[in-house]
């Protein structure tokens, strides 16, 4: 009788270890995929906003303020967020978002790329880093206003 009890303990120990390992791995990947999916949506929304936004290029500061509005839209879902706004994805900050304009021969924006840089997803046991993806490019279709300043 005693030896049977020992068997059951060992069996339980082995099977529980296997199960817990699988479940932990499943959670990690599931959570990371969930965050990645949200990143794709956020970057897509930001790039679409950038594509349709008025490009004001009076000074470098105006261009930077426009880029900041795009980064805010990716992170907060709002180009002019409130001071206490929460990011749509935990720990995502505007500095994780890169906005890159590709200008044509006349210096007019042709396309805009929005990319995630150096963002780490903390999936409890392991951390997954995303650098350079997701990345989305949209054609620029907005109004080009080289002489205007950001309001």
């Amino acid at each position: 009788m005693n030896s049977q009890k020992g068997h059951a303990m060992i069996e339980l120990a082995i099977s529980a270890t296997v199960m817990v390992t699988f479940l932990a791995g499943t959670f990690q990947f599931g959570y990371t995929f969930y965050i990645y999916n949200q990143l794709v949506s956020a970057v897509g929304n930001g790039a679409r906003y950038a594509a349709q936004r008025t490009y004001r290029g009076a000074t470098d500061r105006d261009i930077e303020r426009g880029n900041q509005a795009i980064r805010n839209l990716v992170v907060y879902g709002d180009a002019q967020p409130a001071a206490d706004a929460a990011p749509v994805i935990a720990n995502l900050k505007p500095e994780h978002v890169e906005v890159r304009w590709v200008l044509n021969g006349d210096g007019i924006p042709a396309t805009v790329d929005v990319t995630i840089r150096g963002f780490a997803v903390d999936a409890a046991i392991q951390t997954f880093a995303f650098d350079g993806r997701p990345s989305v490019e949209f054609p620029y279709v907005g109004r080009y206003a080289p002489a205007e300043s950001e309001p």
Partner: protein
């Protein structure tokens, strides 16, 4: 010694549990990738249809530029690793009748571009072990018109 009826119980229980576990892992891992692909493909077709519609100007050159603009988009799928393949670009004057190769006399009336990304075959890894398919295809499609929306802000 165990009684005969108890023998192999753990084996059977573990097999049943493993089957269920594989199904759960498959749901999380494989369907997770499927949903990401759907999202990536939708963002790509949105951007591509805008890129194509923007180039339409009633000339054959505009049509060629529209196709080139779609082909030039660097957006990827499969967690940002694969190119979109077999992308179909079609054009229409009324948003109902679509043609990949419009006739010369139809060119001036074209107002819409439609982009379809049909070939996004997500390889299924875990659900396959519990009776799922080998691949799941996640197509996406988007339409854009030549009068693209511009934000005033």
């Amino acid at each position: 010694m165990r009684r005969p009826t108890e023998k192999g119980f753990v084996l059977i229980a573990m097999s049943a549990a493993m089957f269920l576990l594989l199904a759960v892992i498959g749901m999380v891992f494989d369907l997770g990738r499927v949903y990401i692909t759907r999202n990536e493909a939708q963002v790509f077709t949105d951007a591509a249809s805008m890129a194509a519609a923007q180039q339409l100007d009633g000339t054959p050159a505009g049509l060629a530029r529209a196709r080139a603009a779609v082909a030039a988009l660097p957006n990827h799928w499969n967690l940002g690793t694969k190119d979109f393949e077999g992308v179909v670009v079609e054009f229409s004057a009324d948003n109902e009748h679509w043609k990949p190769e419009p006739a010369a006399d139809e060119l001036p009336s074209l107002r819409y571009a439609r982009v379809t990304a049909p070939g996004n075959h997500v390889e299924i890894m875990f659900l396959r072990a519990v009776g799922g398919p080998e691949t799941l295809t996640v197509p996406a499609r988007a339409v854009a018109s030549t009068g693209l929306v511009r934000l005033t802000q």
